[in-house]
Subunit: 234 residues, 2 copies
């Protein structure tokens, strides 16, 4: 039996809703934080899986709650950044380090710049990453970059593709936080969890956005994921 | 029986030597181009697989030849760019479009900037790629980016890792050239060859350098490759 965790999720788009629903199902105490918690009837996200937060609450049940970003951070022993990349730093700053210090932040965001249209580009890359920016800004937050190479549907259900035989990556400076996240990923159903090293390795996974989009476009409408295939050298 | 091809390889480092040896074994007519074809006894590359060109010639046999970059381009109906990224444009310009126009260029290079040490960065990325730069500079050359996500050993022997069950990517504007390259990759032993689309998709594979290095570092001394796992949506 896994321990029940208090989890605060920042962001109520498709990633926040999907992770939140799964974590409630797993028995965790989930609080979603959003900019305007009074506006529960606005459409969130695009596409067939877009739901209002009222619909989300009705479906997920009474165990889930929705409040402000700060309340969500305050609630969580683990905080999940499910915001889009461009909003992540601002929202964390608005929450304030008092509510973040010492906690584990699961950072699922990518530094996507949509201003130029498709193909999207990255507003930070190669010599720095969004994961590193958040870690530098909040030195006492234990940032673990993960899940950012995946669609929301795959994050919580790796079996959707290739019987789950593909890879999710971890990047972070704090070994204890990474172990905590690894255990949560296993509980979600992940088997191939690859610890890349410190938070600077988030550059690698964030920069996979380009190949990810190219592959999705080439194989549309297939769902896709990446597997790190490895052999020990003889 | 595959048709025998005339192949010119630009660059005599580990990539050029390894591809050249394999293509000679497959019965193709291979000419390696190098900056100083008279200097056959200088060490090429680093590590245990580094050989002088004299040693390479002795091992590969009389079917292979070494000459200038221009002679190699002139020889090849297919030309392979096995140069490092930083040298690629200069060398192609020194060869001149007269020797390149109408030909297929297999571009295996990556825009690696080693000036800042490890982790290496990219001198072009995200909004452009080295593949696109070469294509723009030589509009009548049919550039096909491929193999650039792999070590030289894996380029010619995908079976080394995961019984060959991993992915090699193709990017290029010319469908005929991509078919030609796809056939050559099949002859080498590749099964999972994924055509990403036009040459701009080379951004995706070139930007995989960062995740590739991170994974290799994390799993050292394992050999690694990436597999695109996919399912059709139900």
């Amino acid at each position: 039996m896994e321990a029940k965790l208090k989890i605060g999720i920042l962001g109520t788009g498709i990633v926040g809703q999907t992770l939140g629903q799964k974590l409630v199902k797993l028995g965790h105490s989930v609080l979603l934080g959003t900019r305007n918690p009074s506006k529960l009837d606005e459409p969130k996200g695009r596409g067939p899986s877009a739901r209002t937060l009222s619909d989300w609450l009705a479906e997920v049940g009474a165990e889930a709650r929705i409040s402000t970003f700060r309340e969500a951070a305050n609630h969580g022993e683990i905080v999940i950044n499910a915001l889009n990349g461009g909003a992540s730093l601002d929202v964390l700053q608005s929450v304030g380090e008092t509510y973040l210090n010492g906690k584990t932040l699961i950072d699922t965001s990518n530094p996507i710049d949509i201003s130029g249209g498709f193909p999207f580009t990255l507003f930070v890359k190669d010599t720095d990453s969004l994961g590193e920016i958040l870690q530098r800004e909040f030195p006492n937050l234990r940032v673990v970059k993960t899940l950012n190479t995946l669609t929301a549907a795959l994050m919580v259900d790796p079996q959707r593709v290739g019987n789950g035989d593909h890879t999710v990556f971890l990047s972070g400076n704090d070994a204890k936080a990474k172990t905590q996240v690894l255990e949560l990923l296993r509980e979600i159903g992940w088997h191939d969890i690859l610890d890349l090293g410190d938070i600077s390795t988030a550059r690698g996974t964030e920069m996979m956005l380009s190949i990810g989009h190219a592959v999705m476009h080439a194989l549309n409408p297939a769902e896709i994921a990446f597997k790190v295939v490895r052999n020990k050298r003889p």
